[in-house]
């Protein structure tokens, strides 16, 4: 491999990206838009979730609970239900996204045993909303819990363990004990990187075939490796810049707590970038049309990354077969890593499994891409 040739290609590619509106849009606008749509949508759009109320007790305390929900900014009462069948029907028809179910003996049980549970049933078709609504409900119940405790303590001088357990019906997925945004935003970063990285590189070789410039290029002594690393270099830099933007937004705008080391974050991000760039490049080498390559890159990254990375659909609730497939999705490892680095402050060593998985992935993809390129018109 010759550095001079590699740099010549990297420089040329940079100029072309700079002058290609489509590449620029993918590199610059896509992260901004996606971060806004996925990350920001999560926190703001979901005020005033339509709520059905099914108060089976109808006591002073239960009405107080309902009031806490309906007077908050987060929920808006759309119906009052009387029977279990009403509840079914309301959820099935999509009349409400969440239903607050207060059991018959709510206050009695609470005062007698010191604990009871409310139930919030959620329509999880829109998981984002469901996740967020869960978070809101938890917040409200925690407040209720605290107030009840304070009252009880004032009256009896001892604490109860509280009512603050929100049970969720079986149709609901939720993230235990985590602020939904903290949970989702790192996943968003992974999706954006996967999308941008594979989209950008999917165009790079196919464009040369489509425009006929490949014939001239392969008549020179350039090698496949020089071409690959030369072309990947500018995209790698762009990918890292996009990652810095997204991760920065996650930490400073969405206030996802960052407890890990920057070095670990950068290293693993670079690794993931290499994987997704490699996937796009491999497709670009194989498929000689820009449209074809970018469509397949989209299909191959967007769907598995959103569905199977655990970004918002927890994997352990999926069928075994689907879980097995998810091991093939590189974003799965990166999402795990991001969450661990951000929320738990994990070290490389703590995350040895996903890190090594990504390392293997990167090696396999890059090797496959290098071998797929043929300096030939045959």
């Amino acid at each position: 491999m010759n550095l001079r040739r590699l740099l010549a290609i990297a420089y040329k590619e940079t100029l072309q990206i700079w002058r290609d509106p489509r590449s620029l849009a993918i590199a610059l606008l896509m992260p901004l838009m996606q971060m806004g749509l996925l990350g920001y949508g999560v926190s703001l759009d979901i005020k005033r979730v339509p709520l059905c109320v099914y108060d089976q007790e109808n006591s002073q305390l239960s009405r107080g609970v309902v009031n806490r929900f309906t007077s908050s900014d987060w929920f808006r009462q759309v119906a009052v239900l009387q029977t279990d069948r009403d509840l079914r029907a309301a959820m099935d028809h999509g009349d409400c996204i969440a239903a607050l179910v207060i059991p018959v003996n709510f206050s009695r049980t609470l005062y007698m045993t010191g604990q009871d549970s409310l139930q919030v049933v959620l329509d999880a078709t829109d998981t984002n909303t469901a996740n967020i609504a869960t978070g809101y409900a938890q917040g409200i119940v925690a407040q209720l819990d605290a107030d009840l405790n304070a009252n009880w303590q004032g009256a009896h001088g001892e604490t109860v363990r509280g009512v603050g357990t929100v049970d969720l019906a079986s149709r609901v997925w939720f993230n235990e004990g985590l602020d939904s945004r903290n949970f989702i935003v790192p996943g968003v970063v992974a999706i954006i990187l996967a999308l941008v990285g594979s989209q950008l590189t999917s165009l790079t070789v196919s464009r040369e075939w489509e425009r006929g410039t490949m014939e001239q290029l392969i008549s020179t002594p350039v090698t496949g490796l020089e071409l690959m690393f030369g072309k990947l270099t500018p995209y790698f830099v762009i990918g890292l810049l996009d990652a810095v933007f997204c991760l920065g937004t996650a930490a400073f705008w969405f206030h996802v707590p960052f407890r890990g080391s920057l070095f670990t974050l950068v290293l693993t991000t670079a690794l993931f970038a290499l994987v997704v760039l490699g996937i796009g490049y491999l497709l670009s080498v194989r498929i000689h049309s820009q449209l074809g390559a970018s469509q397949i890159a989209l299909m191959l990254t967007m769907l598995p990354t959103t569905m199977l990375s655990g970004y918002t659909f927890p994997l352990d609730q999926m069928p075994q077969a689907v879980q097995a497939i998810s091991w093939l999705v590189p974003a799965r490892y990166y999402v795990t890593i991001l969450r661990s680095v951000f929320l738990k402050g994990s070290s490389l060593w703590d995350m040895a499994v996903p890190v090594i998985a990504l390392l293997i992935y990167a090696a396999v993809i890059i090797r496959a891409a290098a071998r797929a390129f043929r300096k030939s018109l045959d």
């Binding site: 010549a8 290609i9 072309q16 001239q216 008549s219 020179t220």
Partner: protein
């Protein structure tokens, strides 16, 4: 071979696409410093041959060396010693003139100390002085082609393959392009150039005629006209060219007759008397101007050679 090894040597070079034979057992020798014109109709196999010689297509059979290197075993060395202009324009339209040159200079590892001077030379040669920062897609055809040539010779390759470099270029630009080819040849560069234009063939030291994948003749324009026609060519005019052509095909001593516009070109077997031809036509009740000996054009030669060697049926 005398002394210097040939710049290009092909033996039995063959390319099949599936069952179709695009180039069939081609033998070719080109000496250093020669300008060889590669001439043939559409689909004759010119581009395919050139691509094989550049290492872009793998021969199905046969061998070839370029600048002394084997095209199959040492393709990278071959690539370092050739310049190639593909039939379809293939520089980067979204880069400027200077950026394209610098890019290919980098790929060919032109020594940095020399790059500036060579780029300046290429720009001057292409007539693009002052337009170094223009995007290449904004250039007109002739300039694009000369720039492509400039990119192909930045690394001073001893052998150049130019695939229809002048197609779609206006006559004046074509002439300028041939001047460049000759000045390169004068510096010892070997050039194989394909073309559709018969008039351009006359500018070549030698011409290789190719049809349906077969090399049917090779020689200097003069040689081809004298030797490969194999007889004397006469021209006559007739008000009934169709009937005259039909009659001539059975006439004694006529090897070949063809209509060229409003004239007939008739190839006579050696020793045939032209005056006898006139009498023959009159005897058949046809009027025609007296046969007039003419100097054959390459087109005549080409028509003659192609008709003599029928195309092998595509399997």
């Amino acid at each position: 071979m005398n002394g210097a090894p040939p710049a290009v040597q092909a033996r039995g070079l063959t390319k099949r696409f599936g069952a179709f034979v695009a180039v069939d057992a081609l033998d070719l020798d080109i000496a250093k410093g020669e300008v060889v014109g590669f001439i043939g109709p559409n689909g004759a196999g010119k581009s395919t041959t050139i691509r094989m010689l550049c290492g872009l297509l793998r021969p199905s059979a046969g061998t070839a060396t370029v600048a002394g290197y084997d095209i199959v075993r040492e393709p990278e060395t071959v690539r370092a010693h050739i310049g190639y202009m593909s039939q379809k324009f293939s520089l980067y339209g979204d880069l400027t003139v200077a950026e394209n040159l610098r890019f290919f200079g980098g790929l060919y590892r032109v020594p940095r100390a020399e790059l500036k001077e060579r780029m300046a030379f290429a720009v001057t040669m292409a007539g693009l002085t002052g337009r170094e920062d223009a995007l290449v897609r904004t250039l007109a055809g002739g300039w694009k082609q000369r720039l492509a040539l400039g990119c192909a010779i930045l690394h001073r390759p001893p052998v150049l393959f130019l695939d229809e470099p002048t197609s779609g270029v206006e006559p004046e630009a074509r002439r300028r392009f041939w001047d460049l080819i000759h000045s390169l040849a004068a510096d010892g560069v070997t050039i194989l150039v394909s073309t559709h234009y018969m008039d351009e063939a006359e500018y070549c030291n030698r011409i290789a005629l190719i049809a349906a994948g077969h090399l049917i003749a090779i020689g200097s324009p003069g040689e081809l006209k004298r030797r490969d026609l194999g007889g004397a060519l006469v021209e006559l005019e007739s008000p009934q060219p169709g009937a005259a052509l039909a009659a001539l095909h059975g006439a004694p001593g006529v090897v070949e007759a063809a209509i060229f516009g409003d004239r007939l070109h008739v190839l006579l077997a050696p020793g045939t008397d032209a005056a006898a031809l006139a009498r023959f036509l009159v005897a058949h009740g046809l009027t025609a101007t007296p046969p007039k000996p003419i100097i054959p054009s390459l087109e005549d030669v080409f028509v003659r050679l192609v008709s003599r060697k029928p195309a092998p049926e595509a399997a």
